[in-house]
């Protein structure tokens, strides 16, 4: 079989496996939701307070930017499991024993990632066509103008995303939660870097489009002062300038070259991924000192344990003096807390301790704002396993057959998560209490309850840690770091609405816990 056939076979099998999973259906639903937001004017391109007529070019570009912006962010988490699945299922071991080359494997997986993301782009392309008929501002349908932004704006970014997702799976320390958080910063850099310095380094093509539209806006809008935004906006509708029929990007060779460059970047990333790929060699997986030590010890243990067996050992098991206390909560709470904190290294505690001390030392506004937000962000990997751990490590059969498992185990897990948020942010709480800021304290408490509750719900629902890791990173950046009211989970940005915010967040936290219970109850009936 040629390398091309191997690549095609790997991509096809992986794509089919993914598209037959429930999560793919959810991803398409998310895409349709984005289409709905764009079609109903909730995602908008605006120049000062104006916009052009909804021509094929405008709609195609708007929807293509929407898909580029959002699907690249979320899509990364959707496709970053292709190699992991081969690792978990053991298929990787089978593939590793074939003549398949590392680049062929990497390109096959990359193409599968790209195909999944492209399918989402395709759904929104159909939405864009429908949107022009619904908007009915311009009767002329120009399919080239409508669809070319999907090909030249959205797909290059999807290729870049697919490549980064692949290399994050190949590099051991980026495989887990750290990679999930790191992607957000890679993604946000794709917006910030071109704006701040290198305009050509624009994987999303956002500046290229906005510059083109702004140039035309200057011709048709007399009082246009250069403002431009791509926004989610429910209330503030832009005024339509009927004379402004933007005809599209024009796609000069320079623009096309800049966009196609991202396919080249993606291919380079895939080659790099192939170079660092361990070919499912579990010995190489012991990349940390701790891992190496464990592996070495365990090799010896295997020999000892196998050699020391004796078939004639009599059974001596002390009967349990007391019956199991199936309602006992305290011991299970401690066990869940230990499980959540297990494996954290000394430096994790050192940073957490530093953030806690800083909460006592810094000015109150800093302490209860960015500091407590960062302290909670630091706990993201502690919380993200909540509710997902049982599926990830396939311990469901062992746990779900235990007596009174629901709600006991889930509540113990949640309580342990809350204990972590309280411990990590107690400095700010003490400061707020000493200052007599009841509303501030309520906001803090709401955050302390909301984060582990959301983690539990998302973990139980998805069975993976990725949704919470992605969501908290996004919320941390948009909320506390940019002082966005209602998204600032410390409550600090809500000003005089802080008490209302706190009550709402506590209600949402309760909803998350109840939701997690309901989903888990369904899972208990059929593992």
């Amino acid at each position: 079989m040629s390398a091309v056939q191997s690549i095609a076979a790997i991509a096809r099998a992986d794509f089919l496996e993914r598209t037959r999973r429930y999560s793919f259906f959810l991803a398409l639903l998310f895409t349709v939701f984005l289409g709905y937001l764009a079609a109903t004017g909730k995602i908008w391109l605006q120049f000062d307070s104006y916009r052009g007529v909804l021509t094929s070019a405008w709609i195609g570009t708007l929807v293509a930017l929407t898909v580029t912006f959002f699907v690249s962010l979320v899509g990364f988490y959707i496709v970053k499991n292709s190699v992991e699945r081969d690792r978990d299922t053991g298929v990787g071991q089978i593939l590793a024993a074939t003549p398949l080359s590392k680049p062929a494997y990497a390109f096959g997986k990359f193409l599968s990632n790209f195909a999944v993301l492209s399918a989402m782009v395709g759904v929104l392309a159909v939405v864009a066509i429908a949107m022009q008929f619904v908007a009915a501002e311009d009767a002329k349908v120009d399919l080239v103008a409508l669809l070319s932004p999907f090909v030249l704006i959205a797909l290059p970014m999807m290729a870049f995303t697919a490549g980064v997702a692949l290399i994050f799976e190949m590099v051991p320390w980026l495989r887990g939660g750290l990679g999930n958080v790191a992607w957000f910063f890679v993604w946000i850099s794709g917006i910030i870097v071109p704006v701040e310095s290198q305009r050509w380094l624009d994987p999303m093509g956002l500046l290229m489009v906005m510059d083109s539209m702004a140039a035309e806006a200057k011709r048709y809008v007399p009082d246009y002062h250069g403002g431009q935004s791509f926004q989610i906006d429910v209330g503030n509708r832009a005024q339509v300038i009927q004379a402004w029929h933007w005809q599209g990007m024009g796609w000069e060779a320079r623009f096309v070259g800049l966009r196609l460059m991202w396919f080249g970047v993606a291919c380079a990333i895939v080659l790099l991924a192939a170079a660092v790929f361990d070919r499912f060699d579990t010995a190489k997986a012991a990349w940390s000192k701790r891992g190496k030590a464990s592996k070495a010890k365990n090799g010896a243990a295997d020999t000892v344990a196998s050699g020391a067996g004796s078939a004639a050992v009599p059974v001596h098991l002390t009967p349990l003096a007391k019956p199991a206390r199936v309602h006992a909560f305290g011991r299970l709470f401690v066990a869940e807390l230990r499980l959540e904190l297990f494996g954290l290294r000394w430096w994790w505690y050192a940073v957490a301790g530093g953030l806690l001390i800083a909460q006592f030392a810094a000015p109150l506004e800093v302490s209860r704002g960015p500091l407590v937000a960062s302290a909670w962000m630091w706990c993201v990997f502690v919380w993200s396993g909540m509710g997902a751990r049982e599926r990830r490590f396939e311990t469901r059969g062992l746990l779900f057959s235990c007596s009174n498992i629901l709600p006991r185990q889930l509540l113990a897990c949640w309580s342990a998560g809350v204990a972590v948020s309280v411990m990590a942010g107690v400095g700010a709480a003490a400061r707020l209490a000493l200052a007599g800021d009841a509303a501030g304290l309520a906001g803090w408490l709401a955050g302390a309850l909301l984060l582990p509750s959301a983690a539990l719900f998302l973990g139980v629902l998805s069975g993976t840690s990725k949704p919470f890791e992605g969501a908290l990173t996004l919320a941390w950046y948009v909320g506390p770091m940019n002082h966005t009211p209602w998204l600032d989970f410390t409550g600090a940005a809500n000003g005089r609405h802080e008490m209302a915010y706190a009550m709402t967040m506590v209600a949402i936290a309760a909803g998350c816990v109840i939701g997690a219970m309901m989903v888990r109850a369904r899972q208990l009936r059929s593992v």
Partner: protein, 298 residues
Amino acid sequence: MRLLVEGMSKRYRGGVQALRGVNLALKPGVLGLLGPNGAGKSTLMRILATITQPSAGRVLWNDSDIAHEPDGLREVLGYLPQDFGVYPNLSAIEFLDYLAAVKGIPADAARRRISELLALVNLADAAKRPLGGYSGGMRQRVGIAQALLNDPKLLIVDEPTAGLDPEERVRFRNLLSELSGERIVILSTHIVSDVEAVATEIAILGHGQLLAHGAPEALLSRVEGKTWEVVAPSGELPALRTKYLVSSTAHRSDGVHARVVADAAPNGAARALEPTLEDAYLAVLAAKRNGAVAGVAA
């Protein structure tokens, strides 16, 4: 102590019928559950372990329906699933201690029990090492230990000897025999010799149906006087297989020695043999394939 399975059926989404009208009545002892791959053994075990609901029928544990009151059974249940995972960063002691907490076992009793169990499954030396580095067989032994944590009255073990070396397999069989006195043990496997060694009762499943259930002797009596050794040239083996149920063969200098299950001697030179459980098991499956479901021996 009584476990009753009444008219149990299970149909999965997508239409796969895993179980069809299974009836069983179990008392203390070891039930060996035999059947080919896909026979419905694991589905039956999962339903008995309360983690899957039957589509029809019911399971009564000491007269209470486990679909409505699962916790009554779960308090005294030990379950080793066919496929299970562990938390790789925990040691065997830490993992078992976590499960002991989930099962509500007091800390001091759990500590003693875990220590005894780890010695019993021959893991005392590796008890403090992370589970992530355990071999498949070592992990399986951790699974066996966790199933015994709460001193279960009903012990359900699904393919427990998978991945164990021969020595550990024998050790595990002995363990099951010792444990079976005052509890119900259900051992699901497709390795007939495991069942032969420990089972006080045997049930055979095929295509989701209970094909046979009874004492090993009752099952053996079905093929009493029907097991033969036939010596034939190796070229005649395919024809022999077509005509008779051949349970095993061995090549010798005088030809192939075939073990055949048949109502009458295949030829005048055939020698009568003592039947084994494997002969009986294969005969039951062959009868099902030929359309005649073997009558259930009590």
